[in-house]
């Protein structure tokens, strides 16, 4: 009995001092990347928009919605984690790598999408601007905008459905 107790004490000590892979993995597992929601003004006549069309919008090659309203894409700052993920998933390049593209566009009188400083600012802007399109954490938005597409943690673009935001409720993530 005493020998068993000693063994258990030693095991407990080893577990604390040298945690096994399961304990370590659980402690160090990164938080899942938030799902990105691509949002538009509720009244925007977007028609069908897929990942390719979204890229064309944010490169300012597609400039009109189906009803002729001018598309107003809005970005987060270049070093914002969501901007980095959005750029990689949709434009297949980092924001910095697109500099040369925007330099060429500038020569033709085309500027990059407008930048808003925060997700809150993007939400406010899209809700208030006909033709606007932006992106933010799915779990930070409200009913003032319409979700057009979602981008999962692996960078895959999906059409939004009615259940999209149930992800946030199911995960009991902040904001819900």
């Amino acid at each position: 009995m005493r020998r068993l107790g000693l063994a258990c004490g030693l095991a407990a000590c080893l577990a604390v001092c040298f945690p096994g892979p399961t304990v370590a993995a659980a402690a160090q597992a990164p938080a899942p990347a938030p799902v990105i929601a691509v949002v538009v003004h509720p009244a925007a006549a977007t028609g069908a928009v897929d990942a390719d069309a979204l890229a064309q919008i944010f490169k300012r090659r597609k400039i009109y919605w189906r009803d002729g309203v001018r598309i107003q894409p809005v970005n987060l700052p270049a070093d914002h984690p969501l901007r980095q993920r959005f750029s990689q998933a949709v434009l297949r390049q980092t924001p910095e790598a697109l500099d040369e593209y925007w330099n060429e566009q500038y020569f033709h009188g085309v500027l990059p999408p407008h930048v808003q400083a925060s997700e809150t600012a993007v939400l406010r802007f899209v809700a208030a601007t006909a033709g606007a399109i932006g992106y933010l954490d799915l779990c930070t938005l409200d009913d003032s905008v319409r979700v057009l597409l979602t981008i999962d943690g692996d960078g895959r673009v999906h059409a939004a459905d009615a259940e999209a935001r149930s992800y946030c409720q199911a995960a009991d993530l902040p904001g819900h």
Binding site: I63, Y64, P77, N103, Y106, G109
Partner: protein, 345 residues
């Protein structure tokens, strides 16, 4: 002069690339000054431009020279609707320095572009005025801060007038994932504010299509039929251009074939270039280019070999140095060293 601006420029980053809450300032380096309402999307007018100063080393009896080659102002209006206005006004050779001679006498003000655009849709847009001739890729992005070399490949300016005055129908057709760009244009001649010593169109029509055919690769096809001021012959140009870019490497090229008809006589002119850009470090690039060109009045094929370095310490700023050597040079092309500094502002 431009070198003196470097310390100031290097401390300025594009506001759209930061999360500074004041990002919507009226001026952004390399993106111009937004007049009117800079904190709105439309911004009304934007004023910007670019400049480049060049150095040409001595070549035989020709001495070195340095010049403020171009100071170009871009002014455009975009009200967020269907109409847009764009203009580019340039001062060429504002200052030229050569051994024992510094002069501003060669300065010339040139209207490069002046057009009004109406967009019916993404696929159907109309342009009226003076615009860049849509032949090949280089001519459409020829601004010095955007290119890799100080000199320009021969076929991108010797085989056709670089500007046209007239009408152009253009847009992006949704035929592929990234769309197919097209342009159809016609010019009755009568160049708007023609540049001195430039052989402008007296009549022209043409078309261009460009698309991404493979990942990281673009292909363009151009055709133009025209007459110029200098000669009564009618020319037909067929052009092909390609660009492949991957991980900061870039391989590009253009091909042009021109037929000239003078009555019963027929002559040919043809040329091409292939250019490779390879990164040496985060900001430094090596550039190699080979050009071939055969003018209608010459016997041999000119070959031009170019090697150079381009340093891009920040977006919109380029310092370039290159050495070029031509063989079978019947058209007096200058050999030797060239260097330049170019900046978007």
């Amino acid at each position: 002069m431009l070198l003196a601006l470097l310390p100031a420029l290097s401390s300025v980053s594009p506001a759209w690339a930061t999360d500074d809450p004041t990002a919507q300032s009226a001026y952004e380096f390399g993106r111009g000054y937004r007049l009117g309402a800079p904190d709105t999307l439309s911004g009304d007018f934007t004023l910007g431009g670019y400049a480049h100063a060049d150095y040409e080393g001595p070549d035989g009896d020709a001495p070195w020279n340095a010049s403020l080659e171009a100071l170009s102002a871009l002014l455009w209006w975009d009200g967020g609707g269907r109409w847009r206005f764009f203009s580019e006004l340039e001062i060429d050779d504002a200052l030229v320095v050569a051994p024992g001679d510094t002069t501003t006498d060669d300065a010339e003000v040139v209207l490069e572009r002046l057009h009004l655009d109406y967009a019916y849709s993404d696929a159907v847009q109309l342009r009226l005025g003076k615009f860049l001739t849509p032949v090949g890729r280089w001519n459409l992005i020829h601004a010095a801060p955007l290119t890799w070399t100080t000199s320009r490949p021969l076929i991108t300016e010797a085989t056709f007038p670089t500007n046209a005055t007239g009408a152009m129908l253009y847009g992006v057709l949704p035929l592929t994932a990234e769309g197919v760009e097209y342009a159809l244009y016609a010019s009755p001649g009568e160049e708007l504010f023609p540049e001195k010593e430039v052989d402008t169109f007296t009549e022209a029509w043409g078309a261009r299509m460009a698309a991404s055919v493979l990942p990281h690769a673009q292909l363009g096809v151009s055709v133009a039929n025209f007459r110029q001021e200098s000669a009564p012959d009618r020319k037909t140009l067929y052009g092909l251009d390609a660009l492949w870019s991957w991980q900061r490497f870039e391989l590009s090229g253009e091909l042009a074939y021109v037929t000239r008809e003078i009555g019963e006589e027929r002559a040919e002119e043809r040329g091409h270039y292939v250019q490779l850009v390879a990164p040496l470090s985060a900001q430094l690039y090596a550039v190699l280019r080979y050009e071939g060109f055969r003018a209608a009045a010459t016997v041999g094929d000119l070959s031009l070999y170019l090697g150079g370095l381009t340093w891009r310490p920040m977006s919109g700023l380029a310092l370039k140095a290159e050495y070029a050597k031509a063989t079978d040079n019947d058209i007096g092309l200058r050999d030797g060293v060239r260097a330049s500094i170019a900046v978007l502002f």
